[in-house]
């Protein structure tokens, strides 16, 4: 038996843990840079605020409807997510965090007399310990547990937030109820194609006469999905892996037209990539630089530019990676053009301790010590005060966060204040 546990309106729920007066009130969370709406409480949904709406377009509406607005607070959400996952591990060690707010669980080999009851226990514990509401779906396969979860979420009164698909009758009823666009792995494009073939529900997808079509359109992934929906388990829990690539890319608020300005940005992106590498204790071999021009303001056809280079030795030194990125930038940057976006991507990532030594070239051993000092300082103060000379010292990692709540669980200076009156 599998389960999918999904936190309801996770970001909004996290904010409410520390501001319980907002329970029952409409709230929304904005994306990085306060760009657009990425999480809504049920109350905000009911008021007709749509997912993904740009903030500036709905600013007036949010105000008029008295909806509380938050900037995204990833330190808080990340910590709360880890707590949820840890609590779930108490119910089965076979738990796979699937995203920040959902996890697959497997119960093979465990004797659980009543899954609905077990799901309720999970739900109640997470609610009591963390004030995070969750929905739980149980079924024989991962794809079906997703379907069960949707049903639990959609009918909270009837299901108490937990739904188990454990009979053939329930499975078929559930599949007929599930719209094709809501099936796990069916995106916007596939939905269009499916609908054109009269495949409108998850049930239609499992019909024998559609098998050839599914195979043609989705290949083996589609067939696996079909089996899973039929109740034949082919997908297992996945082991956590270190990231294969790390990318730091940003669109610029203004335009960038000079090499100096761009050098500073690229150097900063490279520094952040290196920091992430060091955090997961790995090194990269290859660095990719990405630039994007304003496609409406360039005379030429091409507006996306990539440059790839491999280091002689695997590295996670900010200095080494930044130098290489800036070197590549100098070869492809064109003065006078208008750039809209840039990024640094590091790949061919290996664990720090599996570094191969190189005969002629080796990292300057001083880098290692320096990086440690930089990391420790950043960890302690939460600010990137020690930077490379190629980075602008005045410039902060500028992000618009006008509605940011406190980092209640990750920064001691920002913990909750309780009035004793």
């Amino acid at each position: 038996m599998y389960a999918l546990v999904d936190c309801n309106n996770f970001y909004a729920s996290c904010e409410r843990v520390f501001q319980p007066q907002l329970v029952g009130k409409p709230i929304v969370i904005l994306s990085n840079n306060d760009g657009c709406i990425i999480s809504r409480s049920d109350e905000a949904k009911a008021l007709g605020i749509s997912m993904g709406a740009p903030e500036f377009k709905v600013r007036q509406e949010l105000k008029e409807k008295n909806i509380q607005v938050f900037s995204s607070n990833y330190p808080l959400y990340g910590d709360m997510s880890q707590r949820v996952m840890k609590i779930l591990e108490g119910f089965t060690p076979h738990t796979e965090p699937y995203s920040i707010d959902e996890a697959f669980m497997n119960f093979d080999g465990m004797r659980i007399p009543d899954f609905h009851e077990y799901g309720l226990q999970m739900k109640i514990r997470i609610m009591k310990w963390l004030s995070i509401p969750v929905s739980v779906g149980f079924a024989e396969t991962k794809a079906l547990s997703k379907v069960a979860n949707k049903i639990a979420r959609k009918f909270p009164e009837k299901t108490k937030g937990v739904y188990v698909i454990d009979t053939e009758e329930k499975r078929i009823k559930a599949l007929k109820w599930t719209k094709i666009e809501d099936v796990w792995g069916i995106g916007f494009r596939l939905t269009k194609k499916m609908k054109a073939r009269n495949i409108n529900t998850a049930y239609d997808l499992t019909l024998p006469h559609n098998e050839a079509f599914i195979k043609k359109e989705m290949g083996v992934v589609g067939l696996r999905l079909k089996y899973e929906l039929e109740g034949k388990s082919v997908l297992e829990l996945e082991e956590p892996k270190d990231k294969k690539t790390i990318a730091v890319t940003r669109s610029f608020a203004g335009n960038i037209t000079t090499l100096d300005e761009m050098k500073e940005r690229v150097s900063t992106f490279a520094t952040v990539c290196s920091e992430k590498l060091r955090k997961q204790k790995s090194c990269c071999h290859t660095v990719i630089l990405y630039l994007r021009k304003d496609k409406y303001k360039t005379e030429r056809q091409r507006y996306n530019f990539y440059k790839i280079e491999t280091l002689p030795f695997a590295s996670n030194s900010s200095i080494t990676i930044s130098n290489l990125a800036v070197k590549m930038l100098k070869t492809i940057f064109e003065e006078g053009e208008i750039y809209k976006k840039a990024g640094v991507i590091v790949t061919e990532i290996i664990p720090e301790n599996q570094k191969q030594f190189h005969l002629f070239e080796e990292e300057n051993p001083k880098h290692l010590k320096l990086m440690k000092v930089m990391d420790d300082h950043y960890k302690k103060t939460g600010e990137r005060k020690i930077r490379l000379g190629s980075q602008d010292l005045q410039r902060t990692w500028k992000m618009k966060q006008e509605h940011l709540s406190k980092r209640y669980t990750t920064n001691f200076n920002e913990i909750l204040q309780i009035p004793c009156r």
Partner: protein, 144 residues
């Protein structure tokens, strides 16, 4: 003058391949530490103060209503949300949308939130109030 050689020269023996290891760390020739067999982990306040990591949060007290319970202005409270609220426990509560710290008192059919400072009044919780017991205070950390 004596013909006796003052210095004798020896040829090094290049034939013998035996190598002697060089131990750069040196070899300690003292008595082994008698404490080595009693190696224990260091005391960690985290382990003492936090029984349930997932359910534990910290908060700072601001105000004087709980000084009788040893919670002074500016103290850090360790709050375990997994514990059941029972009579006499000190709890972080949210009453009508406002956070506060109080001692819980229950009698037959009523709940009171008791301050620990005579300058403050107890709160009688009625059905018109909305009360959430947010978590139980288990330790107070203060600087002296």
């Amino acid at each position: 003058m004596s013909l006796k050689k003052a210095i004798s020269f020896f040829r090094p023996d290049w034939e013998n391949n035996q190598k002697h290891p060089f131990i750069s760390d040196g070899i300690k020739a003292g008595f082994p530490s008698p404490a080595a067999d009693f190696d224990e982990t260091k005391i960690s306040l985290d382990n003492v103060l936090v029984k349930n990591r997932e359910a534990t949060f910290y908060a700072k007290a601001s105000g004087n209503s709980m000084i009788g319970a040893g919670i002074d202005n500016g103290d850090i409270m360790v709050i375990d949300r997994s514990l059941e609220p029972t009579n006499n426990k000190i709890a972080v509560c949210c009453i009508d949308g406002e956070f506060t710290v109080k001692r819980i008192k229950t009698d037959k059919n009523c709940v009171y939130l008791m301050p620990e400072n005579s300058a403050f009044e107890p709160i009688k919780v009625t059905e018109n109030n909305e009360l959430i017991i947010w978590g139980i205070v288990t330790y107070v950390i203060k600087s002296v």
